[in-house]
Symmetry: C2
Subunit: 331 residues, 2 copies
Protein backbone atom coordinates (compact mmCIF):
# COMPACT_ATOMS: atom_id res chain seq x y z
CA UNK A 1 0.00 0.00 0.00
CA UNK A 2 1.32 3.45 -0.88
CA UNK A 3 0.02 6.99 -0.45
CA UNK A 4 0.19 6.94 3.35
CA UNK A 5 2.67 9.81 3.70
CA UNK A 6 5.81 9.80 5.86
CA UNK A 7 5.89 6.49 7.68
CA UNK A 8 9.20 6.92 9.49
CA UNK A 9 8.33 6.29 13.15
CA UNK A 10 4.68 5.70 12.17
CA UNK A 11 2.28 3.59 14.21
CA UNK A 12 -1.05 1.86 13.78
CA UNK A 13 -4.18 0.91 15.68
CA UNK A 14 -7.04 -1.32 14.53
CA UNK A 15 -10.83 -1.28 14.51
CA UNK A 16 -12.51 -3.82 16.84
CA UNK A 17 -13.45 -6.02 13.85
CA UNK A 18 -9.79 -5.95 12.66
CA UNK A 19 -10.90 -4.81 9.21
CA UNK A 20 -9.53 -1.26 9.32
CA UNK A 21 -6.09 0.05 10.28
CA UNK A 22 -5.63 3.68 11.36
CA UNK A 23 -2.12 4.74 10.41
CA UNK A 24 -0.52 7.73 12.11
CA UNK A 25 2.17 9.24 9.87
CA UNK A 26 4.89 11.50 11.18
CA UNK A 27 3.69 14.21 8.78
CA UNK A 28 0.29 14.55 10.46
CA UNK A 29 -1.50 12.27 8.04
CA UNK A 30 -4.17 9.97 9.46
CA UNK A 31 -5.14 7.21 7.04
CA UNK A 32 -7.92 4.67 7.45
CA UNK A 33 -6.92 1.58 5.54
CA UNK A 34 -9.44 -1.08 4.50
CA UNK A 35 -7.37 -4.24 4.81
CA UNK A 36 -9.95 -6.47 3.12
CA UNK A 37 -10.39 -4.15 0.13
CA UNK A 38 -6.66 -3.22 0.22
CA UNK A 39 -7.61 0.41 -0.31
CA UNK A 40 -7.59 3.73 1.50
CA UNK A 41 -11.05 4.17 3.02
CA UNK A 42 -10.42 7.72 4.28
CA UNK A 43 -7.50 10.05 4.84
CA UNK A 44 -6.97 13.45 6.45
CA UNK A 45 -3.82 15.48 6.95
CA UNK A 46 -4.80 16.72 10.38
CA UNK A 47 -1.62 18.46 11.55
CA UNK A 48 1.85 19.40 10.40
CA UNK A 49 3.76 16.97 12.60
CA UNK A 50 2.27 14.16 14.65
CA UNK A 51 3.50 11.41 16.96
CA UNK A 52 1.09 8.53 17.16
CA UNK A 53 -2.46 7.89 18.21
CA UNK A 54 -4.98 5.64 19.87
CA UNK A 55 -8.48 4.21 19.41
CA UNK A 56 -11.16 4.30 22.12
CA UNK A 57 -12.19 1.07 23.86
CA UNK A 58 -15.48 1.01 21.95
CA UNK A 59 -13.74 1.60 18.62
CA UNK A 60 -15.71 4.76 17.87
CA UNK A 61 -13.04 7.47 18.32
CA UNK A 62 -9.50 7.84 16.99
CA UNK A 63 -7.18 10.35 18.69
CA UNK A 64 -3.93 11.80 17.34
CA UNK A 65 -1.11 13.40 19.30
CA UNK A 66 0.42 16.42 17.57
CA UNK A 67 3.76 18.23 17.78
CA UNK A 68 2.75 20.95 15.32
CA UNK A 69 0.43 22.73 16.14
CA UNK A 70 0.36 20.68 19.35
CA UNK A 71 -2.62 19.30 21.22
CA UNK A 72 -4.76 16.26 20.48
CA UNK A 73 -7.40 15.91 17.80
CA UNK A 74 -10.12 13.29 17.99
CA UNK A 75 -11.92 11.88 14.96
CA UNK A 76 -14.96 9.73 14.24
CA UNK A 77 -13.58 6.27 13.41
CA UNK A 78 -16.19 5.77 10.68
CA UNK A 79 -15.75 8.98 8.72
CA UNK A 80 -12.56 10.63 10.09
CA UNK A 81 -14.64 13.75 10.74
CA UNK A 82 -13.29 15.92 13.56
CA UNK A 83 -15.12 15.24 16.84
CA UNK A 84 -13.00 17.25 19.28
CA UNK A 85 -9.98 19.53 19.17
CA UNK A 86 -7.95 19.78 22.39
CA UNK A 87 -5.25 22.41 21.76
CA UNK A 88 -3.58 21.90 25.18
CA UNK A 89 -1.10 24.72 24.46
CA UNK A 90 1.75 22.23 24.09
CA UNK A 91 3.24 19.47 22.05
CA UNK A 92 1.62 16.24 23.24
CA UNK A 93 3.22 12.83 23.72
CA UNK A 94 2.47 9.38 25.13
CA UNK A 95 -1.15 9.26 23.95
CA UNK A 96 -2.95 6.04 24.93
CA UNK A 97 -6.50 4.75 25.28
CA UNK A 98 -7.86 3.93 28.72
CA UNK A 99 -11.04 2.07 29.74
CA UNK A 100 -14.26 4.09 29.79
CA UNK A 101 -13.83 5.89 26.46
CA UNK A 102 -10.88 7.90 27.75
CA UNK A 103 -7.57 9.01 26.31
CA UNK A 104 -4.50 9.87 28.39
CA UNK A 105 -1.57 11.94 27.12
CA UNK A 106 1.21 14.22 28.39
CA UNK A 107 2.23 17.79 27.61
CA UNK A 108 5.90 18.25 26.72
CA UNK A 109 5.91 21.99 27.30
CA UNK A 110 3.69 22.14 30.39
CA UNK A 111 4.86 19.05 32.26
CA UNK A 112 1.30 17.80 32.75
CA UNK A 113 -0.70 14.64 32.06
CA UNK A 114 -4.29 15.02 30.85
CA UNK A 115 -7.19 12.60 30.88
CA UNK A 116 -9.84 13.29 28.23
CA UNK A 117 -13.08 11.50 29.09
CA UNK A 118 -15.53 10.95 26.21
CA UNK A 119 -17.99 8.78 28.15
CA UNK A 120 -20.78 11.37 27.74
CA UNK A 121 -21.86 12.96 24.47
CA UNK A 122 -20.53 16.43 23.77
CA UNK A 123 -17.21 17.98 24.69
CA UNK A 124 -14.81 15.75 26.60
CA UNK A 125 -14.29 16.20 30.32
CA UNK A 126 -10.61 17.04 30.84
CA UNK A 127 -8.74 16.16 34.04
CA UNK A 128 -5.40 18.00 34.30
CA UNK A 129 -2.66 16.44 36.41
CA UNK A 130 -0.04 19.05 37.18
CA UNK A 131 3.51 18.63 38.44
CA UNK A 132 4.30 15.59 36.36
CA UNK A 133 7.87 16.78 35.77
CA UNK A 134 10.13 18.49 33.26
CA UNK A 135 9.41 17.65 29.62
CA UNK A 136 7.59 14.34 29.43
CA UNK A 137 8.79 12.73 26.18
CA UNK A 138 6.79 9.49 26.06
CA UNK A 139 4.24 7.57 28.07
CA UNK A 140 2.57 4.22 28.37
CA UNK A 141 -0.27 2.53 30.19
CA UNK A 142 -0.15 -0.86 31.93
CA UNK A 143 -1.94 -3.69 30.17
CA UNK A 144 -4.96 -3.44 32.48
CA UNK A 145 -5.30 0.30 31.94
CA UNK A 146 -4.57 1.22 35.56
CA UNK A 147 -1.09 2.81 35.63
CA UNK A 148 0.07 5.59 33.31
CA UNK A 149 3.81 6.19 33.32
CA UNK A 150 5.58 9.12 31.66
CA UNK A 151 9.27 9.33 30.83
CA UNK A 152 10.78 12.75 31.60
CA UNK A 153 13.54 14.31 29.53
CA UNK A 154 14.49 16.82 32.22
CA UNK A 155 14.37 14.56 35.30
CA UNK A 156 16.17 11.47 36.53
CA UNK A 157 12.95 9.68 37.47
CA UNK A 158 9.69 8.58 35.87
CA UNK A 159 6.19 9.77 36.71
CA UNK A 160 3.39 7.40 37.72
CA UNK A 161 -0.35 8.11 37.77
CA UNK A 162 -2.80 5.58 39.25
CA UNK A 163 -5.90 6.07 37.09
CA UNK A 164 -8.01 4.15 39.63
CA UNK A 165 -7.48 6.88 42.25
CA UNK A 166 -10.37 9.20 43.12
CA UNK A 167 -8.14 12.19 42.36
CA UNK A 168 -5.33 10.96 40.09
CA UNK A 169 -1.97 12.55 40.90
CA UNK A 170 1.60 12.18 39.67
CA UNK A 171 4.15 10.48 41.86
CA UNK A 172 7.86 10.11 41.06
CA UNK A 173 9.10 6.53 40.74
CA UNK A 174 12.52 5.01 40.10
CA UNK A 175 14.69 7.92 41.16
CA UNK A 176 17.98 7.77 39.30
CA UNK A 177 16.42 5.82 36.46
CA UNK A 178 17.45 8.34 33.81
CA UNK A 179 20.73 9.45 35.39
CA UNK A 180 23.59 8.07 33.34
CA UNK A 181 27.33 8.17 32.97
CA UNK A 182 28.18 11.08 30.70
CA UNK A 183 31.05 9.12 29.20
CA UNK A 184 28.48 6.76 27.70
CA UNK A 185 26.28 8.76 25.35
CA UNK A 186 22.58 7.97 25.00
CA UNK A 187 22.09 6.81 21.44
CA UNK A 188 18.31 6.73 21.63
CA UNK A 189 15.84 7.40 24.41
CA UNK A 190 14.16 4.05 25.08
CA UNK A 191 10.62 3.52 23.96
CA UNK A 192 8.32 3.28 26.92
CA UNK A 193 5.95 1.11 24.92
CA UNK A 194 8.75 -1.34 25.53
CA UNK A 195 7.85 -1.91 29.18
CA UNK A 196 7.36 -5.59 29.66
CA UNK A 197 5.14 -7.16 32.29
CA UNK A 198 6.22 -10.60 33.44
CA UNK A 199 3.56 -11.28 36.05
CA UNK A 200 5.39 -10.05 39.15
CA UNK A 201 7.70 -7.46 37.60
CA UNK A 202 8.00 -4.86 34.91
CA UNK A 203 11.18 -4.82 32.84
CA UNK A 204 12.34 -1.62 31.23
CA UNK A 205 15.30 -0.47 29.17
CA UNK A 206 17.84 1.51 31.18
CA UNK A 207 18.69 4.92 29.72
CA UNK A 208 22.18 5.05 28.20
CA UNK A 209 23.34 1.82 29.86
CA UNK A 210 23.86 -1.71 28.62
CA UNK A 211 21.20 -3.18 30.87
CA UNK A 212 17.53 -3.67 31.56
CA UNK A 213 15.96 -2.84 34.90
CA UNK A 214 13.54 -5.06 36.85
CA UNK A 215 10.85 -3.28 38.83
CA UNK A 216 8.36 -4.77 41.29
CA UNK A 217 4.89 -4.63 39.76
CA UNK A 218 3.58 -3.79 43.25
CA UNK A 219 5.00 -0.55 44.56
CA UNK A 220 7.49 -0.05 41.71
CA UNK A 221 10.63 -0.72 43.77
CA UNK A 222 13.76 -1.63 41.76
CA UNK A 223 14.54 -5.37 41.90
CA UNK A 224 17.82 -5.52 40.01
CA UNK A 225 19.32 -5.36 36.54
CA UNK A 226 20.42 -7.67 33.74
CA UNK A 227 23.50 -6.80 31.69
CA UNK A 228 22.80 -6.70 27.95
CA UNK A 229 24.65 -6.54 24.63
CA UNK A 230 23.96 -2.84 24.02
CA UNK A 231 21.67 0.03 24.94
CA UNK A 232 18.20 -1.51 24.91
CA UNK A 233 15.48 0.13 22.81
CA UNK A 234 12.55 -2.25 23.24
CA UNK A 235 12.29 -4.76 26.08
CA UNK A 236 9.19 -6.81 25.32
CA UNK A 237 7.74 -9.71 27.29
CA UNK A 238 6.63 -12.79 25.43
CA UNK A 239 2.86 -12.89 26.04
CA UNK A 240 3.21 -15.53 28.75
CA UNK A 241 5.83 -13.42 30.53
CA UNK A 242 8.38 -16.24 30.68
CA UNK A 243 10.90 -14.45 28.41
CA UNK A 244 11.83 -10.86 27.66
CA UNK A 245 13.23 -10.08 24.22
CA UNK A 246 15.42 -6.99 23.79
CA UNK A 247 16.73 -5.10 20.78
CA UNK A 248 19.40 -2.40 20.82
CA UNK A 249 20.38 1.09 19.72
CA UNK A 250 22.84 1.86 16.92
CA UNK A 251 25.62 0.75 16.49
CA UNK A 252 24.88 -2.55 18.28
CA UNK A 253 21.50 -3.05 16.64
CA UNK A 254 22.14 -6.27 14.74
CA UNK A 255 21.14 -8.82 17.41
CA UNK A 256 18.32 -9.46 19.83
CA UNK A 257 18.75 -11.04 23.23
CA UNK A 258 16.36 -13.32 25.09
CA UNK A 259 16.21 -13.06 28.90
CA UNK A 260 14.66 -15.78 31.04
CA UNK A 261 12.25 -14.22 33.50
CA UNK A 262 12.80 -16.73 36.28
CA UNK A 263 16.62 -16.50 36.35
CA UNK A 264 16.85 -12.96 34.87
CA UNK A 265 19.74 -14.21 32.74
CA UNK A 266 20.35 -13.81 29.03
CA UNK A 267 19.74 -17.28 27.61
CA UNK A 268 20.22 -16.51 23.93
CA UNK A 269 21.79 -13.94 21.64
CA UNK A 270 20.33 -14.17 18.15
CA UNK A 271 22.13 -12.50 15.21
CA UNK A 272 19.23 -10.93 13.35
CA UNK A 273 20.86 -8.49 10.92
CA UNK A 274 21.59 -4.77 10.48
CA UNK A 275 19.11 -2.25 11.91
CA UNK A 276 16.91 -4.64 13.85
CA UNK A 277 14.24 -2.09 14.73
CA UNK A 278 11.14 -3.78 16.10
CA UNK A 279 9.56 -7.02 17.29
CA UNK A 280 6.00 -8.27 17.52
CA UNK A 281 4.88 -11.49 19.21
CA UNK A 282 2.07 -13.67 17.96
CA UNK A 283 -0.75 -13.05 20.46
CA UNK A 284 -0.19 -16.32 22.34
CA UNK A 285 3.57 -16.10 21.93
CA UNK A 286 4.53 -19.12 19.84
CA UNK A 287 6.55 -16.99 17.39
CA UNK A 288 8.02 -13.51 17.05
CA UNK A 289 8.37 -11.34 13.95
CA UNK A 290 11.43 -9.07 13.76
CA UNK A 291 11.99 -6.23 11.29
CA UNK A 292 15.55 -5.96 9.93
CA UNK A 293 15.48 -2.65 8.09
CA UNK A 294 18.84 -2.66 6.35
CA UNK A 295 18.41 -6.21 5.12
CA UNK A 296 14.93 -5.43 3.77
CA UNK A 297 13.42 -8.39 5.60
CA UNK A 298 11.05 -9.51 8.29
CA UNK A 299 12.37 -12.60 10.05
CA UNK A 300 10.13 -14.98 11.96
CA UNK A 301 11.53 -16.99 14.88
CA UNK A 302 10.10 -19.79 17.00
CA UNK A 303 9.92 -18.56 20.60
CA UNK A 304 10.63 -21.96 22.14
CA UNK A 305 13.67 -23.26 20.22
CA UNK A 306 14.68 -19.99 18.48
CA UNK A 307 14.65 -21.61 15.03
CA UNK A 308 14.20 -19.22 12.11
CA UNK A 309 10.85 -20.19 10.62
CA UNK A 310 10.44 -17.80 7.69
CA UNK A 311 11.61 -14.61 6.03
CA UNK A 312 9.48 -12.01 4.27
CA UNK A 313 10.96 -9.43 1.92
CA UNK A 314 9.94 -5.83 2.63
CA UNK A 315 11.42 -2.40 1.83
CA UNK A 316 13.15 -0.94 4.91
CA UNK A 317 10.68 -2.48 7.37
CA UNK A 318 10.14 -0.64 10.64
CA UNK A 319 7.24 -1.25 13.08
CA UNK A 320 5.28 -4.51 12.99
CA UNK A 321 1.65 -4.44 14.19
CA UNK A 322 -0.61 -7.50 14.38
CA UNK A 323 -4.35 -6.92 14.24
CA UNK A 324 -4.86 -8.74 17.56
CA UNK A 325 -3.79 -5.40 19.09
CA UNK A 326 -7.40 -4.39 18.42
CA UNK A 327 -8.33 -6.34 21.54
CA UNK A 328 -5.70 -4.96 23.93
CA UNK A 329 -5.97 -1.96 26.21
CA UNK A 330 -3.41 0.77 25.53
CA UNK A 331 -1.86 -0.57 22.30
CA UNK B 1 -26.39 -22.95 12.50
CA UNK B 2 -27.75 -26.40 13.23
CA UNK B 3 -26.38 -29.94 13.04
CA UNK B 4 -23.83 -29.42 15.81
CA UNK B 5 -25.19 -32.11 18.15
CA UNK B 6 -25.90 -31.70 21.87
CA UNK B 7 -24.84 -28.18 22.81
CA UNK B 8 -25.89 -28.23 26.47
CA UNK B 9 -22.74 -27.23 28.34
CA UNK B 10 -20.88 -26.93 25.02
CA UNK B 11 -17.84 -24.70 24.50
CA UNK B 12 -15.87 -23.20 21.66
CA UNK B 13 -12.36 -22.20 20.68
CA UNK B 14 -11.25 -20.27 17.60
CA UNK B 15 -8.57 -20.50 14.92
CA UNK B 16 -5.87 -17.78 15.06
CA UNK B 17 -7.41 -15.99 12.06
CA UNK B 18 -10.83 -16.03 13.79
CA UNK B 19 -12.43 -17.64 10.73
CA UNK B 20 -13.13 -21.05 12.20
CA UNK B 21 -14.85 -22.08 15.44
CA UNK B 22 -14.23 -25.52 16.95
CA UNK B 23 -17.34 -26.52 18.88
CA UNK B 24 -17.13 -29.19 21.56
CA UNK B 25 -20.53 -30.83 22.06
CA UNK B 26 -21.44 -32.78 25.16
CA UNK B 27 -22.14 -35.81 22.95
CA UNK B 28 -18.52 -36.13 21.79
CA UNK B 29 -19.07 -34.24 18.56
CA UNK B 30 -16.29 -31.93 17.39
CA UNK B 31 -17.44 -29.52 14.72
CA UNK B 32 -15.31 -27.10 12.73
CA UNK B 33 -17.51 -24.20 11.72
CA UNK B 34 -16.57 -21.81 8.90
CA UNK B 35 -17.98 -18.53 10.20
CA UNK B 36 -17.45 -16.66 6.93
CA UNK B 37 -19.13 -19.33 4.82
CA UNK B 38 -21.68 -20.06 7.59
CA UNK B 39 -21.19 -23.78 6.99
CA UNK B 40 -19.76 -26.84 8.68
CA UNK B 41 -16.21 -27.27 7.37
CA UNK B 42 -15.61 -30.61 9.11
CA UNK B 43 -17.17 -32.73 11.84
CA UNK B 44 -16.24 -35.87 13.75
CA UNK B 45 -18.02 -37.67 16.56
CA UNK B 46 -14.86 -38.54 18.42
CA UNK B 47 -16.22 -39.95 21.67
CA UNK B 48 -19.45 -40.85 23.43
CA UNK B 49 -19.37 -38.08 26.02
CA UNK B 50 -17.01 -35.12 26.07
CA UNK B 51 -16.39 -32.06 28.22
CA UNK B 52 -14.68 -29.30 26.33
CA UNK B 53 -11.46 -28.73 24.49
CA UNK B 54 -8.61 -26.42 23.61
CA UNK B 55 -6.52 -25.24 20.66
CA UNK B 56 -2.71 -25.13 20.70
CA UNK B 57 -0.92 -21.78 20.81
CA UNK B 58 0.07 -22.10 17.14
CA UNK B 59 -3.47 -23.00 16.11
CA UNK B 60 -2.42 -26.34 14.56
CA UNK B 61 -3.89 -28.81 17.08
CA UNK B 62 -7.32 -29.16 18.68
CA UNK B 63 -7.65 -31.34 21.80
CA UNK B 64 -10.83 -32.77 23.32
CA UNK B 65 -11.38 -33.98 26.87
CA UNK B 66 -13.53 -37.11 27.10
CA UNK B 67 -15.65 -38.71 29.81
CA UNK B 68 -16.54 -41.76 27.70
CA UNK B 69 -14.23 -43.52 26.85
CA UNK B 70 -12.03 -41.12 28.83
CA UNK B 71 -8.67 -39.69 27.86
CA UNK B 72 -7.82 -36.87 25.48
CA UNK B 73 -7.85 -36.97 21.70
CA UNK B 74 -5.91 -34.48 19.61
CA UNK B 75 -6.83 -33.54 16.05
CA UNK B 76 -5.28 -31.65 13.15
CA UNK B 77 -7.02 -28.26 13.10
CA UNK B 78 -7.09 -28.20 9.30
CA UNK B 79 -8.64 -31.60 8.63
CA UNK B 80 -9.85 -32.91 12.03
CA UNK B 81 -7.77 -36.04 11.39
CA UNK B 82 -6.65 -37.78 14.59
CA UNK B 83 -3.07 -36.80 15.52
CA UNK B 84 -2.77 -38.39 18.96
CA UNK B 85 -4.86 -40.53 21.28
CA UNK B 86 -4.04 -40.28 24.99
CA UNK B 87 -6.27 -42.85 26.76
CA UNK B 88 -5.09 -41.84 30.28
CA UNK B 89 -7.21 -44.59 31.87
CA UNK B 90 -9.62 -42.03 33.30
CA UNK B 91 -12.23 -39.45 32.58
CA UNK B 92 -10.41 -36.19 31.89
CA UNK B 93 -11.38 -32.67 32.95
CA UNK B 94 -10.03 -29.12 33.00
CA UNK B 95 -8.28 -29.32 29.61
CA UNK B 96 -6.48 -26.10 28.65
CA UNK B 97 -3.78 -24.97 26.24
CA UNK B 98 -0.44 -23.82 27.60
CA UNK B 99 2.43 -22.00 25.87
CA UNK B 100 4.86 -24.15 23.89
CA UNK B 101 2.31 -26.32 22.05
CA UNK B 102 1.22 -28.01 25.27
CA UNK B 103 -2.08 -29.12 26.72
CA UNK B 104 -2.76 -29.58 30.44
CA UNK B 105 -5.63 -31.63 31.87
CA UNK B 106 -6.60 -33.60 34.97
CA UNK B 107 -7.70 -37.20 35.58
CA UNK B 108 -10.90 -37.57 37.59
CA UNK B 109 -10.32 -41.22 38.45
CA UNK B 110 -6.56 -41.12 39.08
CA UNK B 111 -6.24 -37.75 40.83
CA UNK B 112 -3.45 -36.63 38.52
CA UNK B 113 -2.66 -33.68 36.25
CA UNK B 114 -0.94 -34.39 32.94
CA UNK B 115 1.03 -32.12 30.62
CA UNK B 116 1.08 -33.26 26.99
CA UNK B 117 3.89 -31.53 25.09
CA UNK B 118 3.59 -31.45 21.29
CA UNK B 119 6.60 -29.18 20.66
CA UNK B 120 8.43 -31.93 18.74
CA UNK B 121 6.98 -33.96 15.86
CA UNK B 122 5.70 -37.43 16.72
CA UNK B 123 4.04 -38.69 19.88
CA UNK B 124 3.58 -36.12 22.64
CA UNK B 125 5.86 -36.10 25.67
CA UNK B 126 3.66 -36.69 28.73
CA UNK B 127 4.52 -35.36 32.18
CA UNK B 128 2.43 -36.99 34.93
CA UNK B 129 1.88 -35.03 38.14
CA UNK B 130 0.69 -37.41 40.84
CA UNK B 131 -0.97 -36.67 44.16
CA UNK B 132 -3.15 -33.85 42.91
CA UNK B 133 -6.03 -34.94 45.15
CA UNK B 134 -9.32 -36.82 45.18
CA UNK B 135 -11.41 -36.45 42.02
CA UNK B 136 -10.41 -33.27 40.19
CA UNK B 137 -13.62 -32.00 38.58
CA UNK B 138 -12.43 -28.90 36.69
CA UNK B 139 -9.30 -26.88 36.08
CA UNK B 140 -8.07 -23.61 34.73
CA UNK B 141 -4.85 -21.87 33.81
CA UNK B 142 -3.89 -18.30 34.72
CA UNK B 143 -3.99 -15.78 31.87
CA UNK B 144 -0.22 -15.90 31.40
CA UNK B 145 -0.17 -19.70 31.23
CA UNK B 146 1.89 -20.13 34.39
CA UNK B 147 -0.44 -21.54 37.07
CA UNK B 148 -2.76 -24.51 36.59
CA UNK B 149 -5.38 -24.93 39.30
CA UNK B 150 -7.66 -27.93 39.74
CA UNK B 151 -10.86 -28.07 41.76
CA UNK B 152 -11.23 -31.29 43.79
CA UNK B 153 -14.56 -32.95 44.45
CA UNK B 154 -13.23 -35.06 47.32
CA UNK B 155 -11.09 -32.47 49.13
CA UNK B 156 -11.66 -29.17 50.89
CA UNK B 157 -8.79 -27.43 49.06
CA UNK B 158 -7.66 -26.70 45.52
CA UNK B 159 -4.51 -27.95 43.79
CA UNK B 160 -1.92 -25.61 42.24
CA UNK B 161 0.79 -26.51 39.73
CA UNK B 162 3.45 -23.94 38.74
CA UNK B 163 4.16 -24.84 35.11
CA UNK B 164 7.34 -22.74 35.17
CA UNK B 165 8.94 -25.10 37.71
CA UNK B 166 11.73 -27.43 36.57
CA UNK B 167 9.75 -30.39 37.97
CA UNK B 168 6.10 -29.29 38.20
CA UNK B 169 4.36 -30.61 41.32
CA UNK B 170 0.93 -30.21 42.92
CA UNK B 171 0.58 -28.15 46.05
CA UNK B 172 -2.64 -27.68 48.06
CA UNK B 173 -3.91 -24.12 48.28
CA UNK B 174 -6.87 -22.51 50.04
CA UNK B 175 -7.51 -25.19 52.68
CA UNK B 176 -11.16 -25.09 53.68
CA UNK B 177 -12.16 -23.57 50.34
CA UNK B 178 -14.63 -26.33 49.51
CA UNK B 179 -15.80 -27.07 53.05
CA UNK B 180 -19.33 -25.79 53.47
CA UNK B 181 -22.24 -25.72 55.86
CA UNK B 182 -24.35 -28.82 55.25
CA UNK B 183 -27.52 -26.87 55.96
CA UNK B 184 -26.85 -24.88 52.78
CA UNK B 185 -26.83 -27.30 49.86
CA UNK B 186 -24.49 -26.75 46.91
CA UNK B 187 -26.70 -26.05 43.91
CA UNK B 188 -23.88 -26.13 41.38
CA UNK B 189 -20.14 -26.60 41.67
CA UNK B 190 -18.64 -23.29 40.56
CA UNK B 191 -16.92 -23.07 37.22
CA UNK B 192 -13.23 -22.58 37.65
CA UNK B 193 -13.05 -20.80 34.31
CA UNK B 194 -14.71 -18.16 36.41
CA UNK B 195 -11.55 -17.20 38.29
CA UNK B 196 -11.07 -13.52 37.84
CA UNK B 197 -7.71 -11.76 37.92
CA UNK B 198 -7.84 -8.15 39.08
CA UNK B 199 -4.14 -7.30 38.97
CA UNK B 200 -3.21 -8.04 42.58
CA UNK B 201 -5.80 -10.69 43.42
CA UNK B 202 -7.78 -13.58 42.06
CA UNK B 203 -11.50 -13.71 42.84
CA UNK B 204 -13.31 -17.01 42.91
CA UNK B 205 -16.79 -18.26 43.69
CA UNK B 206 -17.10 -19.85 47.12
CA UNK B 207 -18.54 -23.37 47.10
CA UNK B 208 -22.09 -23.50 48.51
CA UNK B 209 -21.90 -20.04 50.09
CA UNK B 210 -23.30 -16.67 49.15
CA UNK B 211 -19.90 -15.07 48.69
CA UNK B 212 -16.85 -14.69 46.53
CA UNK B 213 -13.35 -15.20 47.88
CA UNK B 214 -10.37 -12.87 47.28
CA UNK B 215 -6.97 -14.53 46.99
CA UNK B 216 -3.57 -12.88 46.78
CA UNK B 217 -2.16 -13.37 43.28
CA UNK B 218 1.26 -13.83 44.90
CA UNK B 219 1.34 -16.81 47.21
CA UNK B 220 -2.40 -17.55 47.03
CA UNK B 221 -3.23 -16.49 50.59
CA UNK B 222 -6.91 -15.67 51.28
CA UNK B 223 -7.54 -11.92 51.50
CA UNK B 224 -11.21 -11.83 52.46
CA UNK B 225 -14.70 -12.33 51.10
CA UNK B 226 -17.56 -10.33 49.63
CA UNK B 227 -21.15 -11.26 50.45
CA UNK B 228 -23.27 -11.86 47.34
CA UNK B 229 -26.91 -12.32 46.33
CA UNK B 230 -26.67 -16.09 45.87
CA UNK B 231 -24.25 -18.94 45.25
CA UNK B 232 -21.89 -17.59 42.60
CA UNK B 233 -21.35 -19.60 39.43
CA UNK B 234 -19.09 -17.34 37.38
CA UNK B 235 -17.04 -14.52 38.89
CA UNK B 236 -15.47 -12.72 35.94
CA UNK B 237 -13.19 -9.70 35.95
CA UNK B 238 -13.85 -6.92 33.49
CA UNK B 239 -10.76 -6.93 31.24
CA UNK B 240 -9.22 -3.97 33.09
CA UNK B 241 -9.74 -5.73 36.43
CA UNK B 242 -11.59 -2.79 37.98
CA UNK B 243 -14.87 -4.70 38.38
CA UNK B 244 -15.89 -8.31 38.95
CA UNK B 245 -19.26 -9.42 37.61
CA UNK B 246 -20.97 -12.43 39.22
CA UNK B 247 -23.92 -14.60 38.25
CA UNK B 248 -25.65 -17.14 40.47
CA UNK B 249 -26.96 -20.68 40.82
CA UNK B 250 -30.63 -21.65 40.66
CA UNK B 251 -32.97 -20.47 42.17
CA UNK B 252 -31.32 -17.03 42.53
CA UNK B 253 -30.11 -16.88 38.94
CA UNK B 254 -32.05 -13.88 37.66
CA UNK B 255 -29.60 -11.10 38.54
CA UNK B 256 -25.93 -10.30 38.18
CA UNK B 257 -23.93 -8.31 40.68
CA UNK B 258 -21.03 -5.95 40.04
CA UNK B 259 -18.24 -5.76 42.63
CA UNK B 260 -15.77 -2.87 42.70
CA UNK B 261 -12.25 -4.25 42.94
CA UNK B 262 -10.82 -1.40 44.97
CA UNK B 263 -13.47 -1.43 47.73
CA UNK B 264 -14.50 -5.12 47.28
CA UNK B 265 -18.10 -3.98 47.68
CA UNK B 266 -21.12 -4.80 45.54
CA UNK B 267 -21.85 -1.55 43.70
CA UNK B 268 -24.76 -2.72 41.56
CA UNK B 269 -27.34 -5.47 41.35
CA UNK B 270 -28.78 -5.73 37.84
CA UNK B 271 -32.03 -7.65 37.26
CA UNK B 272 -31.19 -9.57 34.09
CA UNK B 273 -33.93 -12.20 33.82
CA UNK B 274 -34.58 -15.91 34.47
CA UNK B 275 -31.70 -18.36 34.03
CA UNK B 276 -28.89 -15.86 33.57
CA UNK B 277 -26.26 -18.42 32.61
CA UNK B 278 -23.18 -16.74 31.20
CA UNK B 279 -21.38 -13.45 30.52
CA UNK B 280 -18.75 -12.37 28.04
CA UNK B 281 -16.92 -9.03 28.07
CA UNK B 282 -15.91 -7.15 24.95
CA UNK B 283 -12.13 -7.61 24.78
CA UNK B 284 -11.37 -4.11 26.09
CA UNK B 285 -14.31 -4.20 28.48
CA UNK B 286 -16.61 -1.40 27.33
CA UNK B 287 -19.64 -3.71 27.29
CA UNK B 288 -20.77 -7.13 28.50
CA UNK B 289 -23.09 -9.63 26.83
CA UNK B 290 -25.28 -11.75 29.11
CA UNK B 291 -27.28 -14.85 28.13
CA UNK B 292 -30.73 -15.10 29.70
CA UNK B 293 -31.81 -18.59 28.75
CA UNK B 294 -35.43 -18.63 29.88
CA UNK B 295 -36.16 -15.27 28.30
CA UNK B 296 -34.57 -16.38 25.00
CA UNK B 297 -32.40 -13.30 24.87
CA UNK B 298 -28.87 -12.00 24.95
CA UNK B 299 -28.72 -8.65 26.76
CA UNK B 300 -25.90 -6.17 26.24
CA UNK B 301 -24.94 -3.76 29.03
CA UNK B 302 -22.59 -0.79 29.18
CA UNK B 303 -19.86 -1.60 31.74
CA UNK B 304 -19.46 1.99 32.90
CA UNK B 305 -23.02 3.20 33.53
CA UNK B 306 -24.82 -0.21 33.42
CA UNK B 307 -27.29 1.00 30.78
CA UNK B 308 -28.91 -1.73 28.70
CA UNK B 309 -27.62 -1.12 25.18
CA UNK B 310 -29.26 -3.87 23.14
CA UNK B 311 -31.10 -7.18 23.15
CA UNK B 312 -30.69 -10.06 20.74
CA UNK B 313 -33.27 -12.83 20.44
CA UNK B 314 -31.89 -16.37 20.65
CA UNK B 315 -33.31 -19.80 21.51
CA UNK B 316 -32.30 -20.78 25.06
CA UNK B 317 -28.91 -19.08 24.89
CA UNK B 318 -26.15 -20.56 27.02
CA UNK B 319 -22.41 -19.80 26.62
CA UNK B 320 -21.23 -16.67 24.79
CA UNK B 321 -17.82 -16.78 23.10
CA UNK B 322 -16.23 -13.83 21.28
CA UNK B 323 -13.64 -14.61 18.63
CA UNK B 324 -11.03 -12.43 20.37
CA UNK B 325 -10.55 -15.51 22.59
CA UNK B 326 -8.42 -16.77 19.71
CA UNK B 327 -5.65 -14.51 21.00
CA UNK B 328 -5.77 -15.47 24.69
CA UNK B 329 -3.83 -18.18 26.46
CA UNK B 330 -5.99 -20.83 28.13
CA UNK B 331 -9.43 -19.82 26.79
Amino acid sequence: MEGLGDLSHASTVFSPDERFAFIFGRDGGLTKLDMIGARIAARVVQAGNAIGGAISDDGRLVAVSNYEPGGVRVFDADTLELVADIPAGSKTVGLVDAPGRRFVFSLWDAGETWIADFARPGAPVITRIRGVGDRPYDGLISGNGRYYIAGLFGEDHLSLVDLWAEAPAARPILPGYAAHDEKLPVYKMPHLEGWAFTGDAFVLPAVGLHEVLWVDARGFAPLGTTRTHGQPVFAMARPDGRQVWVNFAHPLNDVVQVIDTASREVIRTIPTGPATLHMEFAPRGHEVWISVRDEDRIKVFDCQDFARLAEIEAQSPSGIFFTARAHRIGL
